[in-house]
């Protein structure tokens, strides 16, 4: 077995020191009826590297990849070009095969990256501070809701219909068990986001107001207005960002009054990966720092007075506080945070702006082309790189028909909101700097055929 260095001679010598007759004897504490005499029945035996690679390559070949087809999907996961150096650097064994930096003297590489990452996220979000990552955007969103409950000592959260439905579902699952009250609504296929309806639901019991920016249909809500309304009632504004590239062009949520900003960092550095692992981003005002979930990296000095970094404020965390911790999270998304941070370092502020502009421009070009397809209506007035269209038939069927023609044409609202008949004609279409004029032409032509 290529991964196991002991040979029979080693084992014999080691068993002698241990004072056991065989390896099986070391399992004497396992009740004999639960001990298997040989390999688990019903499973194959070991395989060579070549055989495993061949098997996996065959399975991989059964997918139609984003790189193979005109591609217009978004809805919380975005395709952007990731520079080759990002993947090379995250495969450095010293990053890839390190553990959570509990021994800071020999983990300054990871720790400095986390400190840089926290600073990058805070600047992008316009928040005072940011943590060292959570699992993904959806779980970060729930963590923000519970944190707002701790800060305000209230338990009601008002969620905009523009929040990604999987994020809402994740919160709904958790709220069933914690007793938090969630006010949720479905989105509507209209040009304006639901700012006014959300504001009308805020009352003196409200702990947090959760708004996505841009929202799930690509619309850009008026954060400043919602922040003012929330804070007037003593509630916190939580802003969810599923496409951080948008912040290359849009004002940061913190600058518009958000108290907590959470996001999905996947679109920088991480790639599509069929939904995971992704990267939960979490920033907030400095005054709430001791209520934050997850790991935090902070600057300090070593015994020689040299600058160094450590994990800090761990008295919030489960390994110290146990059932009184701010969250149960332990392992987070360290390597994805590294990928995100490297990509953002390669871009810099100007590069991010350029990438955002290109994404927006390709989206406008896509919308202009789609608007000419008979039966297609563009819903949005405002959008960054993602917008909704209404089709004359069920968008789920259209998406499948487009795929049969080799075009990955978008995400149907029917898939995201099963059972919501009013949304069944809705299709979310996304573009990025990867979208070419040929891709747009292919989408238009395939859609014309499918709708004909």
């Amino acid at each position: 077995m290529r991964y196991l260095p002991l040979n029979d001679g080693d084992r014999a010598a080691m068993l002698e020191r241990v004072g056991a007759g065989s390896v099986d004897d070391l399992f004497a504490d396992v009740p004999v009826e639960a001990r298997l005499a040989g390999p688990v029945p019903g499973l194959p035996m070991h395989a060579s590297e070549m055989a495993v690679e061949r098997h996996m390559a065959r399975l991989s070949g059964e997918s139609l990849t984003a790189g193979q087809a005109p591609f217009f999907l978004g809805a919380g996961a975005y395709r952007h070009h990731v520079p080759a150096s990002v993947d090379h650097l995250i495969q450095r064994g010293e990053f890839l095969t390190a553990y959570t930096p509990y021994q800071p003297e020999i983990a300054q590489g990871t720790l400095q990256v986390l400190f840089e990452f926290q600073t990058q996220v805070a600047r992008l979000f316009g928040t005072d501070v940011a943590n060292a990552s959570l699992y993904d955007g959806s779980t970060a969103c729930w963590e923000a809701i519970t944190m707002a409950g701790r800060v305000t000592r209230r338990s009601k959260a008002v969620l905009s219909g523009g929040v990604h439905p999987h994020y809402v579902e994740t919160a709904r699952t958790m709220a069933k068990f914690t007793g938090d009250r969630l006010v949720t609504r479905l989105p509507e296929l209209v040009a304006a986001s639901d700012d006014d309806a959300v504001i009308a639901d805020i009352d003196g019991e409200t702990a947090s107001v959760v708004v996505q920016y841009p929202d799930v249909m690509g619309r850009v809500p008026d954060l400043a207005k919602i922040a003012q309304a929330a804070q007037a009632k003593g509630a916190l504004l939580i802003v969810v960002v599923t496409e951080p590239v948008a912040l290359g062009l849009l004002e940061s949520p913190g600058a518009l009054g958000a108290d907590i900003v959470v996001g999905e960092g996947q679109s920088l550095g991480v790639g599509l990966q069929f939904g995971g692992p992704y990267l939960g981003l979490f920033g907030c005002r400095e005054k709430y720092v001791r209520q934050m979930p997850g790991r935090l990296c902070g600057e300090t000095l070593d015994a020689d007075g040299k600058r160094g970094f450590v994990l800090t404020l761990s008295t919030r965390e489960q390994h110290i506080r146990r059932e009184k911790a701010t969250s149960n999270i332990c392992t987070n998304s360290g390597l994805c945070a590294l990928a995100f941070s490297i990509h953002l370092t390669l871009l810099g502020g100007k590069g991010l702006e350029k990438m955002a502009k290109l994404s927006r421009i390709r989206a406008v070009q896509t919308a202009q082309a789609l608007a000419k397809v008979p039966g297609v209506t563009i819903v949005n007035d405002s959008y960054f790189n993602e917008f909704a269209v209404v089709l004359p038939k069920d968008a789920r069927t259209v998406v499948r028909d487009l795929a049969d023609k080799g075009v990955l044409g978008g995400v149907s609202l029917g898939r995201l909101y099963p059972g919501a008949e009013a949304l069944s004609g809705g299709l979310l279409v996304t573009a990025s700097e990867c979208t070419s004029a040929d891709d747009i032409a292919a989408l238009v032509s395939a859609l014309e055929e499918v709708l004909a």
Binding site: M45, T65, T97, Y99, H166, P277, T300, H319
Partner: protein
């Protein structure tokens, strides 16, 4: 030169405890040990390491976008050569399993096969969107389903929830299944029993899921006090969370008895599977009456830890709990294709009681591919050898050190995959931390320290099966040397490490005045 250190290299530490000779350099670099500034100190807004296809950038199309920012985000950029050097230099300040033995108990730092990295990057898994039509992602869905079948078979369970994103998320999933199952029979219970030796995530998770946590004491031999546990069972107890093998590195012999008692009292058994690597291929938790157990793919199945994640924590479920597992999940169809069952069709596919969704999309695909490649490489026979060698290596460490270090449960028989020591016998004023920091100078990552809490000054050593005997012998030699220094009261140990990129860091300062972002 000696037998365990044929290279003859020795850290040169003088009697005063200061590295010698002390030579100042202009750069603060020390040959291959290179200092590196922050990106905010070396980059600037104008630098960029990415070129775009922007020949037709028509800025007029940017009109109509509300909330436009007035200036770019204040983020420093680096060109590619600068960025590659920055991160490469930083990487060299990290210890890693690729560099040497990393005996962090409970964390399972074993070799990460590079085949697994290669297959995870295959485009049919890495370059597909989670919401593509299912007919276009069959390759990815088949990986999920194949891994699910392996996990079910290896554990002897009935079903598996694949979506949890790490161990603690898996614990949450298991407790939510228990809660949903109890609610389905109209049985509101509010207490979860947790042994004192449990990982901190267990009580934190139970609280996060809305339960009240009650601790169960351990016996003198390091195991759950079965009498205390069974005495506490009753109509208010939803379940117990037990780690097996436990955090003292011992197998809970009475787990089946405990399970039977918990079931008889109407509760459920959650097993923390963080240590499944000790028994994989030899023991099926389903045979011990477990109702739910998470499997850390980043431990047992060696997906890389990545400096703190990402992990993956699928939860295997008993027949009683499987109907309540979260959405989505995969189901193989009669024609050989695999379906992803989501909210839309869950009810018609016999999963109407699913407790809901735990996260966006379908879980940690990138970890599934790596774990499946690892599992296929080892096979049922190789996995059995994995646990056997892991346990043998730990016992070898235990019996090679128990004459110089106190092994509180050493007399009770063999340990499982990790060996537990205490600081009993150290000179006055010398602690576990001192020994751990001394290990850094010897070129090893320290073991887990001060956990489990039930042992004073605990040192939990998990060598894993991917260490050779030679590597273990070198580690044992270093540990013997350090144990003797701690017992003799060698002052140099108290200020270790002396040879790492940094000396001991002031954690109090960091917490008192938190500097969490760079402000210049």
């Amino acid at each position: 030169m000696n037998e365990i250190n044929p290279s003859g290299w020795r850290p040169s530490i003088s009697a005063s405890g200061v590295a010698a000779p002390s030579i100042e350099t202009f750069t603060d670099n020390r040959a291959l040990q290179l200092e590196e500034a922050l990106i905010f100190e070396i980059g600037n807004l104008e630098h960029c390491g990415v070129d775009f296809d922007d020949d037709d950038l028509d800025e007029t199309l940017l009109g109509g976008l509300p909330s436009r920012r007035s200036a770019p985000v204040d983020l420093p950029g680096l060109t590619e050569p600068e960025a590659v050097r920055h991160y490469t230099r930083l990487s060299r300040q990290n210890y890693a399993i690729d560099l040497g033995l990393f005996p962090l108990g409970s964390c399972t730092m074993k070799h990460n096969p590079r085949l697994d990295e290669k297959v995870a990057r295959m485009p049919g898994f890495a370059d597909v969107h989670p919401l593509q039509p299912q007919s276009t992602v069959q390759g990815a869905l088949k990986v999920m389903n194949e891994l699910a079948q392996w996990l079910i078979t290896l554990t002897g369970m009935h079903g598996v929830a694949m979506t949890p994103k790490a161990g603690a998320h898996g614990e949450l999933c298991g407790l939510l299944c228990i809660r949903a199952a109890l609610e389905a029979r109209g049985d509101a219970r509010e207490v979860i029993l947790v042994p004192e030796s449990a990982h901190g995530t267990n009580p934190a998770t139970a609280a996060f899921a809305g339960y009240r946590v009650e601790n169960i004491p351990a016996t003198a031999d390091g195991r759950v006090d079965v009498a205390a546990l069974t005495a506490r069972l009753g109509p208010d107890v939803a379940g117990v969370m037990i780690t097996n093998p436990n955090t003292c590195g011992l197998f809970e012999r009475d787990l089946k008895t405990i399970s039977d008692a918990v079931h008889a009292a109407g509760g459920f058994v959650y097993c923390d599977g963080a240590n499944f690597n000790a028994i994989v291929g030899r023991v099926r938790p389903g045979d011990l009456g477990v109702d739910a157990m998470h499997i850390n793919l980043h431990k047992t199945f060696s997906t890389p830890h990545g400096g703190g994640g990402p992990g993956s924590g699928p939860v295997v479920l008993s027949e009683a709990l499987a109907p309540f597992g979260p959405l989505p999940f995969t189901a193989r169809q009669a024609d050989g294709s695999v379906r992803l069952v989501e909210e839309e069709t869950a009810a018609e596919e016999g999963h109407a009681q699913a407790f809901g969704r735990m996260c966006a999309f379908h879980g940690q695909m990138g970890m599934y591919t790596r774990a499946l490649a690892y599992i296929l490489s080892h096979g049922a026979d190789g996995l059995r050898q994995v646990s056997g060698d892991a346990v043998l290596n730990a016992n070898y460490v235990l019996r090679s050190l128990d004459d110089v270090l106190d092994a509180p449960f050493g007399a009770a028989g063999p340990c499982m995959h990790e060996a537990l020591f205490s600081d009993d016998g150290f000179a006055e004023g010398f602690s576990t931390l001192d020994l751990a920091k001394g290990l850094i100078d010897e070129g090893f990552h320290p073991m887990t320290v001060y956990f489990p809490l039930v042992v004073h000054g605990a040192m939990l050593v998990e060598p894993t099966e991917t260490e050779s005997k030679r590597s273990l012998d070198q580690f044992i030699g270093a540990m013997r040397s350090l144990a003797e220094r701690a017992r003799a009261g060698d002052e140099a140990l108290k200020s270790a490490p002396h040879l790492a990129p940094r000396r001991r860091l002031d954690e109090t300062l960091a917490a008192r005045k938190p500097k969490l972002v760079w402000k210049g």
